[in-house]
Symmetry: C2
């Protein structure tokens, strides 16, 4: 009754052997007096055939069997006759002649077929997640996830990183996203918070002299969710002391290259391309550019600064930009098509989308009549436009231009199928701004967090022009996704004080907010830095999925519910009493 072989082990090599298989009935069909069962286990499928003339009892048992029954089947592996070989099946050259059947468990008819191609409403899949996870594609994705975890751990272990766990019940952090809170039973009116990341703890490990740390850390953010967000997610959290940043970055490249090679057999070339934040924004309108195709943003501001076309000249004069993308070979698009892209641009925040089509018969387009021949020629040269090309222009403040053209570039590439889905294009984005100004609050905020180290040469700017200070921060991007981000950390008190000053936080206030970390820094903090990779997202990209929910065994919906367990749910009043809290009465609707 106990398994001797997995389904996929039933190959030509073991023809003649008697095997016992354990698994689920993928399907049963009766044909010409025989009963055929495709038996599924974790490894795959194999066909079992029951002949009432050979094993009447087994055939009788097989007759009762339906989809998703759990069976043990014993029988001999035999070669199929040439005409019945199934080349689509890994075990298609053989079948098992069923001699014994034991039904471990019957099964109700599942709400959907256990197959990859079945189109089921996601809510149903999530409610019956345990059935959804039986599908080969889901199993493969979770297997990739498993292999990825082992690969990264092996690599980091080999390089002297120590896996250390940090608390899940911890302290509410004053900045950042919204915390999940946990009321304390022992300490009336006090709350733990679930960590948004182990940031403080990883730095404390460095102060504690652990030198190299990593963790597959569960992180929590109580934010409104999008397709690529989950209330809890896993990050590969890494920190190292005394390592030159360059050494650290190449180590991380090597780790990711090893991961892709070991997990999905993809060769990744190192070193990765590097782009400063400025360069990425200029050339791609994004700090996570998809580098699998060109169509870079072309800056025509200088070329058009003196044009008599007021829209362009005025924008440039007001500190704005005129930039374009060259949609190669699309000069023949209809007016309707072009107008549709104009609407897209407007949805993305542009005031409009100007265009020029370089046709055989001359240059046409919405701005053709406003530009001089020389200007058009200069545009042609700068944009390296050839006959047959189409240029889309956006004139606006740099932020808007980047946002619109960056996104337009992506959508055009998808539309034109310029993207090779089998390519993995990695890059580092470096020299991020240290601070962002909030018009609303009239102050600067740390772009990453207040412990990010500024670039040495920019430190004096902290006092004079904080917005210009670049950080020793880096993101790893892959195919248009940010897959990791990190920085070198401030470890010197003077620099930390300058930073808080730039943030408009007094040292006293800072101590209140980050008390124990600042205190820890006074007892001998080493130079250190690190990174955190979005593990769910990396799995998603490796498995070729487009949704994080497909890469997490038991994910939550956009409203942060689990449709299977029905969490969250109401609890007993007694439990709340013990925790010293009560639910607020809903406000009356007037």
């Amino acid at each position: 009754m106990h398994r001797t072989h997995q389904a996929l082990e039933c190959t030509k090599e073991i023809v003649g052997e008697t095997v016992t298989l354990n698994g689920w009935v993928q399907k049963r069909r009766d044909l010409g007096g025989l009963i055929f069962i495709d038996l599924r286990d974790r490894s795959g499928l194999v066909q079992v055939v029951f002949n009432p003339e050979i094993s009447p009892e087994a055939a009788k048992a097989a007759e009762q069997v339906r989809s998703e029954y759990v069976l043990s089947i014993t029988g001999k592996v035999v070669a199929r006759s040439p005409e019945t070989v199934n080349p689509k099946m890994a075990t298609g050259e053989v079948e098992v002649q069923g001699e014994k059947v034991h039904i471990f468990n019957p099964a109700k008819t599942p709400p959907f077929l256990i197959e990859d191609r079945v189109d089921v409403d996601e809510a149903v899949r999530l409610k019956y997640r345990y059935l959804d996870l039986r599908r080969p594609k889901m199993q493969q994705t979770l297997m990739i996830r498993h292999r990825a975890m082992q690969s990264v751990r092996r690599f980091l272990d080999k390089h002297g990183f120590i896996e250390l766990e940090t608390p899940i019940l911890t302290k509410s952090t004053p900045e950042g996203a919204r915390d999940y809170l946990v009321p304390s039973r022992v300490h009336e009116g006090s709350f733990y918070a679930l960590p948004q990341s182990p940031q403080l703890f990883k730095q404390l490990f460095m102060i504690a002299g652990m030198e190299r740390y990593f963790q597959f850390a569960r992180c929590f953010r109580d934010e409104d969710l999008r397709a690529d967000r989950q209330p809890e997610f896993t990050q590969i959290d890494i920190e190292a002391s005394f390592l030159p940043p360059e050494t650290f970055l190449s180590m991380m490249e090597e780790m990711i290259a090893t991961l892709f090679e070991e997990t999905i057999g993809v060769q990744v070339t190192t070193p990765f391309q590097r782009l400063t934040y400025r360069e990425a924004m200029d050339r791609y309108g994004s700090d996570k550019p998809d580098l699998r195709f060109g169509m870079e943003l072309i800056d025509l501001s200088e070329v058009l600064r003196g044009t008599s076309f007021k829209v362009f000249a005025g924008t440039v004069a007001a500190g704005g930009q005129v930039k374009a993308v060259n949609v190669k070979g699309c000069a023949g698009w209809s007016r309707k098509e072009i107008d549709n892209w104009g609407k897209v641009a407007e949805q993305l925040g542009a005031k409009g989308l100007a265009w020029l089509a370089f046709k055989e018969e001359g240059i046409k387009g919405s701005v053709a009549k406003f530009l001089s021949e020389q200007e058009m020629e200069a545009i042609r040269q700068t944009a390296e436009a050839e006959t047959g090309d189409l240029l889309f222009f956006v004139a606006d403040q740099p932020g808007v231009v980047a946002q619109v053209l960056g996104e337009l570039r992506l959508r055009l590439a998808k539309e034109l199928k310029l993207i090779d889905e089998n390519q993995y294009k990695f890059a580092w984005i470096t020299e991020f701004p240290l601070l962002e100004y909030s018009e609303e609050d009239g102050r600067y905020y740390a772009m990453h967090h207040p412990f990010t180290m500024p670039m040495e040469e920019d430190i004096p700017l902290l006092k004079t022009d904080p917005g210009k200070v670049r950080a020793k921060a880096y993101d790893m991007v892959l195919n248009g996704y940010e897959i990791g981000g990190g920085s070198q950390r401030i470890y010197q008190r003077e620099v930390q004080e300058l930073m808080f000053e730039a943030l408009g936080i007094s040292m006293e206030e800072a101590k209140e907010k980050f008390g124990f970390l600042l205190e820890a820094f006074e007892y001998g903090a080493p130079p250190h830095g690190g990174i955190a990779f979005g593990f769910d997202r990396i799995v998603m990209l490796m498995a070729g999925r487009s949704n994080l929910r497909e890469c997490i065994a038991f994910p939550k919906t956009a409203s942060a519910s689990c449709l299977m367990t029905e969490a969250p749910s109401p609890v007993d009043e007694k439990q709340l009493e013990e925790l010293h809290i009560r639910v607020r009465k809903p406000e009356k609707t007037e």
Copy 2:
């Protein structure tokens, strides 16, 4: 400035090489015009000497340096003269001649010395955990923890187990310990619960066809804490389908043996000893016996059933037991010593502790005068008592006898130093009772959980004598600690229904409590079973520590607080408002 070598790499083999070391100042002392610094990094210590005549600048820099400063030191490795070799130091044959010093960071004087032998109040250590973790012993413990995680993962990966993560934000479970709750912002009045274990999810993985699963799972229990409890803890969670229980148990033995070998170099013999629950209770008075020494409990009930000594005869007649332990060679203990053990027995719940001392001059003791010569001779034979031995007797109901003598046995062994601290004695305890009767509630409860499979031959007893039903449950014990526990699970509906019946739970009620799991079982559940190991405790035993807090990087105190971060803590009213809860007003003290 960047490290070329670790401290411990400075050995005779590299004498003559120039190295750069990065680390912390363990201590500085000035001697005969020279400055000596012991530099500490994660690997260990090395001595650096500064000679003002050789490197005046470096010596000058070294002069400013104090304990726990973070330095980069460059210098040449030289052999020490024979009379200055320090055999206590791994690098004691060499020293580094300091040529350059860079101070990465100064340090305030720490609140305690960074040394293993320093005796500091635990509260101070926990407040300054980042300093406490610098101590070699703490670093070694966390390193053992790291190595242990890698070893177990390698083993399970090799044996086809897949590492899968389960949610931390999940549903409140109706039975078991107290849940930590997390109020939902999106779903007013609803709460997530942190998992007490991934029990339901691991079984769902089996139903999902994952076949072999593992996880280093964070678990949470809001219980009052003891020295060996933490509000959050890590368990190695394992579940497998289609595996014969015997195969599974040997696999787990092999895993643990590999773990001990790879992590601390200890050879563990397999297969492990097996004891049924009954046997363990009879022979050791404990379901987690320490098997590093004998002193088994001796049952004298039969021998003394007919005695004229009413205390013994009456106890046996009332269904009780008379049992003893033989304290070898302690017949000479003073009356005072023996009385002290009597007090211990009373504290443990005994009505008294009878004794007999087998002295050269004859048998003495509290019950000598009540027993006949034949009875004493029978006792001597049954207890294999020799001259010089001391017997302690407890006569009571079996539960009390086990509790008292089981604990007395442990304390006597400690007192008499019978325990070889370098020994690791593993065993499986099997055939646990399936159910426990609660006198208070007048009903049975599942000893493990309601999905534990009863032993086939006992299934009929579920209807007639539920208390006698044994479970297919097993604990792994080591040196008196339970380090893991698990069972085969019920996967057949009929058995599950019998189980709920025995628990006095209607199928309707069961569906309400375990709805989705019971539903899942209807879609084809495979035979499966598993185990969960207490990882923190295993680390504790491997590292030779006696407290779980020493084995967790950032532990909580007995009142579930973190003294470093001051979690839990009050939060903003605004946060509570968003979560639709309020703190209850403390009740007025009258």
